[in-house]
Amino acid sequence: MTSVTELAAGSERAAVETDSRRPRGTTEPPNGGTAPPTPRRTRRSLTPLWLLTPAGIVVIALILIPIGFLLFTSFTNFDQRSLFTGAFDWTGITEYTSIFTNVDFWWSLLRTVLFTAAMVAGSVVIGMGVAQLLTRLGTAMKYIVTVVLILAWAMPNVASAQVWKWLFQPGYGVINWLLTQTHLFGNVLNVNWPQDTSLAFFCIWLLVVWQAVPFIALTLYAAQSQVSQEYVEAARLDGANEWRVYWNVTIPFLRPTLMLMIILSVIWDFNVFNQIWLVSQGGPNDATMTLGIYTYVNAFVSFDLGNGSAIAIVTTVILGLLSAFYVRSLLRSGEDL
């Protein structure tokens, strides 16, 4: 959803594992109905049902039914007129054949995959570097870096997108001015990043990576401080240099955390919407038109809601597969759902 859930996910994992004690389900037997229940127990076993009812209503009425409705709409030609008249036709798989034969769809899918790969690679590699850097700093410097990371992490992406447009503004933007001062690229004062087919994505990439690095760096740093020092010392005794120690001792220790970070980043970066929409609106010439933007433009700009729904269903299926990986690796890491 919104990328702010990122920060939630950080501590969500967090809070979950703070205690290894698992509730033993109070006094309830597994409600399998095998034991002859006393009246009191029968009454009590209904308690979870009551407690879950409000959440169930919300999830079913506001999430599951809408997704069902999305599937339904994807088989119709629902459009702007239908919004007012309520009239639309059942068109079967026409919307699907039309998107799969539309080259724009394939381009936006390819673009999304490449963007996601670039953003995940960038944020994970930089995040690993910063985590490693944090282990080598004195207390004061460590504190400064942490505060800087948290500032970048906390900035709402609607605000940071505004800041980005100002930083990269042609004419008076400070980035162009700084680049011109280096004399490496000549006079680039008037380069319009968000409106340049090759630079627009790089500009958004910087924005996404800037906000994604803190979560990854702080999580990996926390994991890294758990790495058993004996192994590190043993490796040093055997004459391993810093790089070997990192590669052969630290990385294997970090692997489960790293896997989770990568999977979560893939899911989040695949869903990046605000940053692209606010900086370039998918332009110029569709250069930053990812699946999310493509769906939105189809559904709410050209108001071809049937078509937009079909694309959204395809996106949902892709993300469903990615989430399956996430759930599997969570379960592997010992999470008790």
């Binding site: 950080g10 879950l52 992406n157 605000a159 100002w166």
Partner: protein, 299 residues
Amino acid sequence: MSAPTLISGPLAPSGTKVVRATPGRHGKRRWIATLIAIVFSLIWVFPVYWMINTALKPQSEVMTPTPLFFPLHPTLSNFIDAVNNSTFLDNLRSSLIVVVASVLVSAAIAFFACAALTRFRFRGRRVIMVTILVVQMLPSVALLIPTFLVFNDFNLVGSYLGLILAYIAMVLPFSIWILRGFFIAVPVEIEEAARVDGASDWRILRSVLFPLVAPGIISTSIFAFIAAWNEYILAYTFMKDNTMYTLPIWLASFSTPHSGTDFGGQMAASVLFSLPVVIFFLIIQRKLVSGIAAGAVKG
């Protein structure tokens, strides 16, 4: 989070005096790390610095051929303009109505749901947990389209109620997921003791569990607040009337009566909008980082 010291006692490896890098090399390495850290911090903090710097500049210093790295005549006029010469106050009210309502409702629902999910064993519990986990990963556009269509039929598009319902659907799954961790941390023995004393389920929930997980409810609500406060695309698509816009829409389409693009005003607006989030972030920051540390032991 200092590096764990070596175990002493019988289990300690014989060579506790391990070969370390010589002091000179060590010092040099620390020095290089510090240098890299300074460069990194300067780059990473720069966008935030530039936002604040621009927000504090008078109109004449915002767009200069050579950018000014600090305001020569710092002023709050951009902030005053942003608040007075725009729909800020209306939109602040909209944001507060929608965010507070959806956060409170979600927190209450999540509290009951977590009590059921952590305090009882029943069939289908795992399925529910996986569902809650997976629906968080859905792209927002996928929910946006059908929600828009359904709400359109019920005349909820453009109303606060519609947006509140949509935000509850957005924040409830992760509220349950976060709050669940706090429930798990409460030892079952406490409730068992209350139960032995004859307390009913409802009473245990109200007088035993609720006070114990109250800090968790606050953290969860802060997360939910941040998510709802920052939400843009749902509000942008749903709200028609510009006095009913929420603050993200106000910010994204910011304008004041000044001629041309008013970057000073825009940056002041960005600061105003980000401030509550940053403050909340700093409140939960400790939980955030130490929590992550705990999670990473297993994760």
